[in-house]
């Protein structure tokens, strides 16, 4: 199955990989490709580089989807994830009434959750994905995951946050003298007191106030987390790994493929961006096409021809090293297609360049 066939059979595409490998661009291209095929697509980006945002015409990119104008039969939309706005929306949805929502939204501890609790951004990305895929009528939702080191965060973050919000300790914080495990609770309350001495009582007070306000809502969050989890496992949800051909990002991609495998999720495609072309040529003297190029560069060093051979030898050396890194990961994700995208000589900063890249990654539009 080619990558464009994978995309055609998907309703949700999740692009994962480490930071700086062109994940956002790849996600945008998948959405653009779908629009070229007449579908209605939306791409959820986390933090697009300025020039990519401009290339997409997204000067005013917001939490709400906006149309990307372009010469395609379908529609392409884009939005940038606003972690806090998404979380606020969830609180409002599951609060019993406006008073409860207000108490949470104005709490200092709550403000910190959206900013610093690890996994919150990942959770909100999957939450937004769920809203768009289930509640809106897009044919394809493409999501660009945050560049977190723990690649799994994106998948299990809803469950993790639900656990955080439903932890035994918060019930202890709220009311230390109640419940069947009173002795344990009292011990925990002693911990809370010593802690208050180290970090300050007002800090602990904020946390207690938050969990008190949140009481009763954790079930709604947990149910939602289950539904998001189910969506991740749908057969029409495809995980595409994005990597650059560097040793360390390939290692991370391999780790991610492993973890997905443990969750019973297959990688549906691997996109390797920024590959160095090797400038191969066929000759009746094959010994000249390989290592001899570097030898010639060295013999001729300092002459124009030496410089020319150096450029060719450097290109080949890098290209060979990159291919070497990809051997293991290609076997690991098989039979998923591996798409090698040559590095572009200039910057990818307009629709023409994006269109060209979409052709390279996903192929041209049939009959188009």
């Amino acid at each position: 199955m080619s990558l464009s066939e994978v995309v055609a059979s998907s309703r949700v595409v999740v692009c994962c990989g480490s930071g700086g490998v062109g994940k956002t661009t790849t996600a945008a291209l998948v959405a653009l490709h779908a629009a070229r095929e007449g579908r209605r697509s939306v791409v959820v980006t986390i933090d697009p580089a300025r020039r990519l945002a401009n290339a997409l015409g997204l000067d005013h990119l917001s939490d709400q989807a906006s149309v990307i104008p372009g010469p395609w039969p379908g529609e392409m939309h884009a939005l940038m994830l606003d972690t806090k706005a998404t979380f606020d929306g969830l609180v409002q949805r599951y609060a019993a009434d406006r008073t409860q929502a207000e108490r949470i939204l104005t709490n200092r501890f709550y403000a910190n959750i959206s900013g610093s609790l690890s996994g919150t951004q990942e959770y909100m990305a999957s939450e937004r994905l769920y809203e768009l895929a289930i509640e809106d009528d897009y044919d394809l939702v493409v999501v660009d995951t945050p560049p977190s080191r723990n690649a799994l965060d994106f998948i299990d973050s809803p469950q993790r946050l639900a656990r955080f919000l439903d932890h035994r300790i918060y019930k202890v914080l709220i009311n230390p003298s109640k419940g069947p495990i009173r002795a344990v609770n009292l011990a925990a309350a002693a911990v809370t007191r010593s802690l208050a001495k180290v970090v300050g009582a007002d800090v602990i007070g904020d946390a207690i106030e938050f969990f008190r306000a949140f009481d009763g809502m954790e079930e709604g969050f947990a149910r939602r987390a289950d539904r998001v989890d189910a969506l991740m496992r749908e057969s029409t949800t495809s995980f595409i790994l994005v990597a650059s051909p560097k040793a360390d990002t390939v290692v991370e991609a391999g780790y991610f493929a492993d973890r997905l495998g443990e969750l019973g999720i297959d990688v549906k495609g691997l996109v390797v961006n920024r590959m160095q072309p090797a400038f191969e040529f066929t000759t009746d003297r094959p010994e000249l096409a390989g290592i001899a190029v570097r030898a010639r560069a060295e013999t001729l060093a300092g002459t124009p021809l030496g410089d020319l051979y150096t450029a060719l030898a450097d290109a080949r050396q890098l290209a060979a090293a990159e291919e070497g890194h990809l051997v293991g990961i290609a076997e690991q994700v098989a039979p998923a297609p591996v798409v090698r995208v040559p590095i572009q000589p200039g910057e990818v900063n307009d629709l023409v360049a994006l269109d060209h890249l979409a052709d390279l990654i996903l192929g041209t539009v049939p009959n188009g």
Partner: protein, 322 residues
């Protein structure tokens, strides 16, 4: 020999940059250059990644320091360890006689609540540990391999942010000491790393102003990794150049040579544009490291880059003395 001025300007150098720019490579090369110049160096990895030990061909780093380059006649020694938030917190509490509390925090999950209640506390603890290492005087230079760029600002702002949020107590005192270290240019400098491409350069400029204005740290030179060496001969026609050199080209060879040259020149032009723009928009000295055209980082590569750094240090110091 006298160690170069940059390496003695501060006892803590924090190396920061966007993912994929070779920040770890640069930290490793700096460490080797400093060790070769007679300084005993400790590398602190705050994220426990695999790339630093890989560069030296050793096992993963631990909370206990280990030698990456042994002290010898030509090296004062490079040592490395991790300082991760959880270990730093346990250390902090244990040093204050609160072992029982630290065990409870971990077993109850309260640690997550604390970290959420006080954003930045983990970073404060890590930087507090770095400060303690600096104060111990066991090393001439501490090189911190910081988190990736966006996180670097959060990381370095943690102290000033916490001073605003928490009124008093031991954590506040810790944050104050960290802030003192970060804002004292005789003790600490931040070195930003980038590659000469548009997006990384944009992020570097943004990060630089953010760090100076919002954290008040002193920035050292910008380190630009992966710069193409100049090859003037690429403008020549391969056939002509071959005729001049008396070399016969096989079929297809001239075309491959000119395609490779064209590609390389286009990439080099992008690099030059970004180097110029960086120089215009950010008035900081630049150190440039050559592109090695390999995607593997090992000791051999680190040594080449360390030598390139040393050369530039010597040149800079000579200019400085004139």
């Amino acid at each position: 020999m006298t160690p170069p001025q940059l390496l003695t300007s501060a006892s803590v150098l924090i190396v920061a940059g966007k993912g994929g720019v070779g920040k770890t490579t640069v930290a490793a090369a700096l460490a080797v250059a400093a060790s070769a110049a007679g300084l005993r160096v400790l590398i602190v990895d705050v994220e426990g990644r695999a790339s630093m030990p890989a560069a030296f061909g050793t096992d993963p780093l631990t909370y206990e320091e280990r030698a990456l380059v042994d002290a010898a006649s030509d090296h004062a020694g490079v040592y490395a360890r991790t300082v991760t938030p959880d270990d730093a917190l346990l250390d902090y509490l244990n040093e204050r006689g609160l072992q029982r509390l630290s065990r409870r925090l971990v077993s109850t999950g309260l640690l997550d609540v604390i970290a959420t209640a006080i954003p930045g506390i983990k970073d404060i603890l890590v930087l507090g540990k770095v400060k303690q290492i600096e104060r111990s005087g066991l090393f001439d230079l501490v090189i911190v391999d910081a988190p990736a760029a966006g996180h670097a600002i959060t990381f370095l702002r943690s102290a000033s942010g916490l001073l605003d949020a928490v009124g008093g107590g031991p954590i506040n005192a810790q944050a104050q000491e960290v802030q003192n270290l970060l804002t004292d240019s005789d003790r600490c400098r931040v070195l930003l790393v980038t590659i000469p491409e548009e997006t990384p350069v944009n992020e570097l400029i943004e990060t630089a102003y953010n760090l100076e204005d919002r954290v008040g740290v002193a920035l050292g030179p910008v380190i630009i990794n992966g710069v193409h060496p100049d090859l003037p001969g690429l403008h020549d026609d391969p056939e002509t150049a071959a005729d001049q050199a008396g070399v016969a080209l096989v079929a297809g060879e001239a075309e491959a040579l000119s395609s490779a040259a064209e590609f390389r020149l286009a990439r080099t032009a992008v690099q030059q544009e970004q180097l110029d723009r960086l120089a215009n928009e950010l008035p900081l000295p630049q150190l440039r490291l050559p592109d090695l055209f390999t995607s593997t980082l090992g000791r051999a590569e680190v040594d080449v880059l360390a030598a390139a750094l040393s050369e530039q240090f010597i040149a800079d110091d000579a200019r400085g003395r004139r």
